[in-house]
């Protein structure tokens, strides 16, 4: 298990190094000069050159890459071209909204999907299965912003249980913050839960057809006992993969939901920075997202090994 963990860790570091290089090259190669964008079409060449040198755009690219990477390692992500504030401050403020929101949505989606998937699989072809599958079909098909609007309409405007939008920060206490994130988290979680429930169901159905499930029944386990003791853990591997993928999406892909609920999250920041050609911010956020994806994959890999002993010895 230790060797497995070390191997995964090594591959994590290599992935990060490669990713940073790819991000830098792609963004540097992308057309559009931030300096000329900031000064507009009619800028004087001298002013442009001055700004370029101020932003550090005139040094050789290799040097800029290493400066960027070593900066990131020491927590210095550079300064935003447009806002002239340290990128780290801009990101960390947003991260305190996006990260808890993503986690919250993930927990909710798992809480909905696991029971729904298990319920449907254990009643394959029956009315319960058909209604759960119908609901997930709807969940996959309906866009999350529409869910968001319905939630606002029902719970904020009519019932007045939640605020319709905005986020006042964590300073007023954990539960207050969580309360404010509840509607957006539900809106994000519903479509994800629909996908996850379907994966859970089909994965469990595959496992239920395995020979060892029949062995378990022959030992005298009831259908239910066999499902919980032998089915679930074996069905978990594909589900973990999807959870890993969903987390990465939730972290940055929630831009529309952030817009609907007026949340100062990462998604909005990416959008603003791309339109303003604020390359350094884009680079940093993309790198952060890549880091989180790789980190989540690493955790998913470790979770695989916990679930499946065959992976532990196959190193």
């Amino acid at each position: 298990m230790l060797r497995y963990t070390l191997k995964r860790l090594l591959s994590l570091l290599i992935s990060l190094a490669v990713a940073s290089l790819v991000i830098f090259v792609v963004i540097e190669v992308a057309p559009g000069d931030p300096a000329s964008f900031m000064l507009g079409m009619n800028a004087q060449p001298e002013t442009l050159a001055a700004l370029r040198s101020e932003l550090g755009l005139d040094v050789p690219k290799v040097q800029r890459y290493f400066a960027w990477v070593s900066g990131m390692l020491s927590g210095d992500f550079g300064t935003s071209y447009t806002y002239r504030t340290p990128v780290i401050d801009m990101i960390s403020g947003r991260l305190w909204v996006s990260l808890p929101l993503a986690l919250y949505a993930l927990v909710l989606s798992s809480l909905i999907a696991f029971p729904a998937g298990i319920f449907a699989a254990s009643r394959r072809g029956q009315a319960g299965d058909i209604s759960v599958m119908g609901a997930t079909q709807l969940g996959v098909a309906v866009p999350n912003f529409w869910f968001a609007m319905i939630l606002v309409l029902v719970f904020a405007i009519n019932l007045r249980w939640f605020a319709a939008g905005g986020f006042i920060g964590w300073n007023n206490g954990f539960w207050v913050g969580l309360h404010a994130l509840t509607l957006p988290a539900i809106a994000l979680a519903l479509p994800q839960a629909a996908i996850l429930a379907r994966v859970m169901r089909s994965s469990l159905l595959d496992v239920l057809g395995e020979d060892f499930m029949r062995t378990a029944r022959a030992k005298g386990l009831s259908e239910r006992q066999a499902l919980w003791r032998h089915g679930l853990r074996n069905a978990l591997i594909p589900v973990l993969t999807i959870i890993g993928l969903q987390f990465s999406f939730l972290l940055a892909g929630s831009i529309i939901i952030e817009q609907v609920f007026y949340l100062p999250g990462l998604g909005r920041l990416v959008f603003q920075s791309i339109s303003a050609r604020d390359l350094i911010v884009v680079e940093s956020i993309v790198m952060l997202l890549v880091f989180s994806v790789i980190m989540v994959n690493f955790l998913v890999d470790l979770a695989y090994a916990v679930v499946d002993p065959r992976l532990r010895s196959r190193t």
Partner: protein, 533 residues
Amino acid sequence: MTLLEIKNLSLSIHNIDILDNITLSVGAGEIVAITGESGSGKSMTALAVMQLLPKGVTTTGQIILNDRVLTELDEPDLCNIRGNDIGMVFQEPMSALNPVHTIGQQVTETIRIHDRSVSRQEAKNRAVETLNRVGLPQDQFPLSRFPHELSGGQRQRVVIAMAIALRPRLLIADEPTTALDVTTQGQILNLLKKLAQEGGMGLLMITHDLAVVADMADRIVVMRAGKIVEQGDTNHLLQNMQHPYTKMLFAASGHQVSLPPITPKLPLLEVKGVVREYRLPRTKIFSTPRTFRAVNDVSFSIRRGERVGLVGESGCGKSTLTRAILGLDQVQSGVISVDGAPVFSGGHPNLDVRRKMQVVFQDPFGSFNPRHRVDRLITEPFHLLADPPKGTARTRAIDEALLAVGLTPQDANKYIHEFSGGQRQRIAIARALIIRPDLILFDEAVSALDVSVRAQILDLLAELCEAYNLTYLFISHDLSVVRTITDRVLVMKSGKIVEHGETTSVFENPRHPYTRALIAAAPVLPDLSQAIA
């Protein structure tokens, strides 16, 4: 004393009859074998006793175990009986165990699920004792082992341990050794026999292997298409078979063919000092990876017109050698040549040689594209030819190949799902014959077939030898088949050819200890020529 009694059991799934009026019984300490070809309802009978039938099944009749009518019990009562009064062993030891639980967890589960008052420690002690009984002593096979750390035979022992942990009165074994090698099969069969004799446990065994049946069973039940055609004490039944189907089954099982005599000619295939290694995963990050020698310095030759067998247990390197001969893999050292030309040259399979060889695989279902018609399937080897026949020449070649394997030219327009298993294997042979190859490789080509179909295919091969003067290498784990269909035989063990010679002399006077063990372990049908006639 009767332990299990099945009375007039009929069973249908969605109005399709699966079992028809089955009546049989198993006594304490008795071994009863149900035999028959695939689809005869053997396994369904076993599942009916366990009451683990698929959904949508309707049954009539009674199954009685020690005065309790299983067919009338509710699910919780049945759960108490399964594993406690009836244990079951399945065909596939590789998949019958839960891969994420240790063998200890899986054996103790049987004990604790039926009696919660047994402490964990007590259950463990009993699991240790049970594993010991099935031949898995603690010092070599601790409870903490996972299934993937065990071989097929060892896994089957764990499955048996789970089934007998509570000393059930009845053990059902559904093809318990079909997936195992012959030496392992012998050990598992002895174990099952011993368990039945020692504990007075009834054993209901399901197997298609008549040699195993004749060797093991006190009583034989022969099934066909959901009906029992004949049953009786083994000795009596073997000597006085009444039903034509039983006679046919036993005749087909010991089926012998006579190959046309050959006059050895020039060498066709030459294998010289062949080594094929695989790299194993590194054990440490910077260590040099170790290698596994699947084929270790193998040399032999096949002369034109010769029929050669290659036997050995799983993992001995048969398949690796086959791939190397076909030029699908590059070998690390040594030379394989056909008519003097190497099969693999310059990093590619040598096409000139490749068109001289064809192969027939084990699985008649998996080796065809289901979306192509037969004419397209059997003309696939034409792509090896520089100038493949077209138009009427192509049609003529197809007709000829289909007729040669006992099918009709009209079959060319059908799809593969329209054929039975035996017919599919005929089509596979037609595909191999169509370019008139110099050498055909049969890789376990009759292993997946029922005995009656297997007998027909063996007859077909003998006829084709006469008509086409075939040269082939027949790879199989089934010694009885190799014995009748080859002139010479090679015995392979751990990547090496340990014995090689005329088939009859190798089988009659095996010299290598491994060959002797192999022949001794293979169950043999008693001489039934009187009974069958």
